[in-house]
Amino acid sequence: MIKKFFSRGYIFLVLAFIYIPIFILVIYSFNSGKTIGVWEAFSLRWYEKLAEVKDVVLNTVLLAVITAVISTVLGTLGAIGIYYSKGKLGKTVNGASQIPVVNSEVVTACALAMTFLLLGLPHRSILGLYIGHIIITAPFVVLSVIPKLKQMDSSLYEAALDLGATPFQALIKVVFPEIMSGIFSGFMLAITLSLDDYIVTATLAPLGYDTISTAVYKSIALTTETASEKVPIYRALTTIIFLIVVIAVVVMNIRASKKSKREAAKMTKTMRNFITALLLFALLIVPCVSIAAPVSAAEARADVINVFSWEDYIDVDILDEFTDETGIKVNYYTFATSEEMYNEILKDPKSCDLACPSEYMIMKMMKEDLIKPYEMPQSYIDFGSRYIKSVFDELDINQADGTTYAIGYMWGTMGNVYNTDKVDAEDLTAWKGLLNQKYKGKITIKDSVRDSYIMALAIVYEEELNAIKTLPADEYETKKAEIFNRTDDETIKKVKDVLTELKQNLYGFEVDSGKSDILTGKIDINFAWSGDAVYSMDEGDAAGVNLSYIVPEEGSNVWFDGWVMPKAASTAAATEFLDFLSRPENAVRNMEYIGYTSCVAGDEVFDYVVDSYGAEQTFTVYSEEEKAQLIEDEEYAESDFAAYGDGYAVIDTYGSLIEEDGVYYLDAYEFTEDGEYVYVGKTEVYPVDLKYFFDPDCTDDTYVVYSLETGRQLYAQYSDEETIKRCAVMQNFSDDALIKVNEMWNTVKLITMPVWLIIVIVAAIVIIIVLAILYKFKDKIIVKKVPGKQKVKDTGDLTEVSRKRL
């Protein structure tokens, strides 16, 4: 009884291990939300969205079916040939046929890719992909057909010949029916294997060609987020596939049990396989067909624009309002990386009218002539930030004739968010502070090659970067840009050393977890984008964790995302959308929604910044004459003014500004409830001059604000001009450099064991192998000692050996 209980329990446990993950997936596929673990409401929205992955499903099914058909033909013929040629030929072919079975797929796939390369063919092509899939499936057809040939009565074929059939007829009429069940199961197996393959497809498929495996891989691997846009759709797809499998299995078993046992033995396997095959196709293809075609065809192009952007990168209401105002519908597609946008546009230039890649990808697309210049929308001309425009001029994104390849959307810097209670701000004024042993295990950096590379560059060339600051502005600008874009071999090697050293000091690399880890105290320093820094600090304020943001002295990366139009885009509608998006009021809403900094200036944005990011009211700076006039008019007293730049600043609030050795203090007064005017105290204030960003002609000093704290939200959103001057745009790596930098980065991230451990493990493995060899030959030795047992050759026949020992 107890035994039974245990065995039942055990079976149940293993079943639970296998099925619980699948059931959870199935359940959450009906959740309207994206995140697993957070149940929002029952909804079929992800099933409706299956249309988005119909190409992927179609690719997969087509590949599997065509592969399976070719493999079955090739493999069946091969099996017959192998079985009936008893000599060397059969053995050799059989041996070669085993290679793809035992070989790892990655070697098979790469070997094939190398062969194409050697022959001067492209290593990625549809033809190569199909060949790859046939290689991994055909041997299994052979493996399932040969046993049937063995079972077949060999005299049948000869009898047919004796009765006057030609060999061909005999084969068709006698042999094939006998081995049909084997052929079918081989066919089914080929389909299963092809459906299941990832590695061969990933290695040989042309860029942009995705099967279910590669598409799902892209959305789940190499990221710690599981809530990316596509994942819920794949949950729904998994649910459907699971259902198909269950139905197929159930049906084939009902079929099997209905038939009498004798009949079943003869017939069912064929029938079963046949029905499964039919069902699998029907059920795989039906959803494909039924979910087809909602997107494009029906709608005329000018009324619809397709926008490629990032997840949560626009306030969704803005899209609706835009449609209401203009009648243009926006299809908003999201991507996880700029590379994905690029691949999609490369694959189908007509697929999108607007895309929002990052700066380096904009430059890559320009270079490769994938995008076209367009007239700047009026609201961007009016309100687009002066600073962003100057950066775009510098990078030749803006054209001399007034058109542009891209207009800015969001921008920011990269720096360190740190816990002010645990980290000394002085330690982080230089990037090498990240190497400080004091903070070992308390730092995360971005799991992103470009971001980490520029940070390491700043450490490598710290002295040079600090030294060139004394140069005239123009020269400094050029020199700085050059340093931040170095990718020569020596630099890459130095960067590798720095990153390897840094890795020892890290808590880990992060994609998205740094924001929460710094709040929970797992880490004290997080290398972050300015927008995320603002988010962290806001959350920190709420949770009572004191965080600050700093861009170290050497400088950093200025990044931006901009809107580009692929060659086939409908310019008019897209421009209209950009015009709508660049209105300051909409920019504010997007900033509020996303938390990043808009490239659009304008008074609405400025007011929002002053209200939301810790800036107290504004400074006003006056010239000498204006100051005298104001005093004369008794607007201000002499003591209210503090020297600021070339002029004199007053504060638009009660109190006066005092300047002592370049540090500003506020002598603040305020009205009490009784209406009394009382002195509050003297506090240090930090003026931040945002003219460089907000002021279109840079003449007015209205855009100087002061804040009571420095290195906080305001600083992260709009760093002061001095900080911005230190930063540079890291451009697109050349193809050659990209390969080297990626290889460097990949190697850095891998685990490196200490030498002693390597030696110990190698020694252990050698011992195991030696023992295994001894064990292998022990059998031979036994065989030699006992005459008449030479047949036992190797451990493959262990059954026999052990049986004999008994």
Binding site: F17, A96, S97, I99, V106, T799
Partner: protein
């Protein structure tokens, strides 16, 4: 059409220029294999022993075996593969054993339940497991990777073990029991030794594939840098935007992997036991 002995070698080719025989059916398959399976193996060797300039060199191997990171990855792959294989055996063996003691029909249904997930795409299964781990609040890393690998490969272990155990001659166990051996002793002296071919063929279906199954480690290791050897090979082909990076380096590692495969196969006699691969017999 009077000749009957088409297939006897003596008559072949004497009376006609072309005589059909069943052997010839394997010619297309043989040609296919030569072109796309055998030849590429030589291409691997060619690339592994040449530099970027095409000249013969041992530098690729020197570079691989002196790089502590790459050697670490190689060793980690071997250890992880061993661990996953062992865990799969430990889970699957009792299960297969219990199944053999059950009624045939019940056992068959259960077996189907165990292998059914094999027909769902393995990346999707990995996604399911990853989401469960997220739900449980478990961090990603080497431990999560091992769970993911076991989850993926367990069905491959259950099948061969079950088919070996079910084919086993029950009378041997009964005889041992009758002769007075305890159940534990019977298990270790009779059942286990007799099931070794099943264990070996199961292990072959787990050990080598794990070493190349970088999809799972990519999914589960987060940013810990925990990966398997297959990843290093794949890097040569799947760099950013799928560009080729270092073909020669990749070929070198592929050759190392091939050698590991041959050594393992030779040691275990695994070349023979591939009949029950991937549910061929279901």
């Amino acid at each position: 059409m009077t000749e009957k002995n088409f297939c006897t070698p003596e008559n072949n080719g004497k009376k006609r220029f072309f005589v059909f025989s069943r052997k010839q059916l394997c010619i297309p398959y043989a040609l296919f294999l030569i072109m796309f399976v055998v030849f590429p193996l030589f291409v691997i060797i060619y690339y592994a022993f040449t530099g970027t300039d095409g000249a013969f060199t041992f530098n690729n191997f020197a570079a691989f075996f002196t790089d502590a990171t790459k050697i670490s990855t190689l060793l980690i792959s071997v250890l992880v593969s061993l661990a996953v294989t062992l865990i799969c055996i430990l889970i699957a063996y009792p299960l297969a054993y219990i199944l053999t003691k059950m009624k045939k029909s019940a056992a068959f249904t259960l077996l189907l339940l165990f292998v059914m997930p094999m027909w769902i795409n393995f990346v999707m299964r990995a996604m399911a497991m990853k989401e469960l781990l997220t739900l449980l609040g478990m961090g990603l890393g080497s431990f999560a990777s091992i769970i993911g690998l076991v989850y993926d490969f367990l069905p491959f272990m259950i099948l061969p073990l079950y088919s070996t155990l079910i084919k086993m001659d029950k009378s041997l166990e009964e005889a041992a029991l009758d002769l007075g051996a305890s159940r534990v002793r019977v298990f270790f002296k009779v059942t286990l030794p007799l099931s070794i071919p099943g264990i070996i063929s199961g292990a072959m279906m787990v050990f080598l594939p794990v070493m190349s199954c970088y999809v799972i480690t990519d999914t589960f290791s987060g940013s810990t840098g925990f990966t398997v050897l297959g990843k290093l090979i794949a890097w040569c082909f799947l760099g950013e935007n799928g560009t080729l990076t270092s073909v020669n380096g990749g070929a070198t590692i592929a050759l190392v992997m091939l050698i590991i495969m041959f050594v393992t196969m030779w040691l275990t006699g695994g070349f023979k036991s591939e009949g029950s691969v991937r549910g061929t017999n279901i």
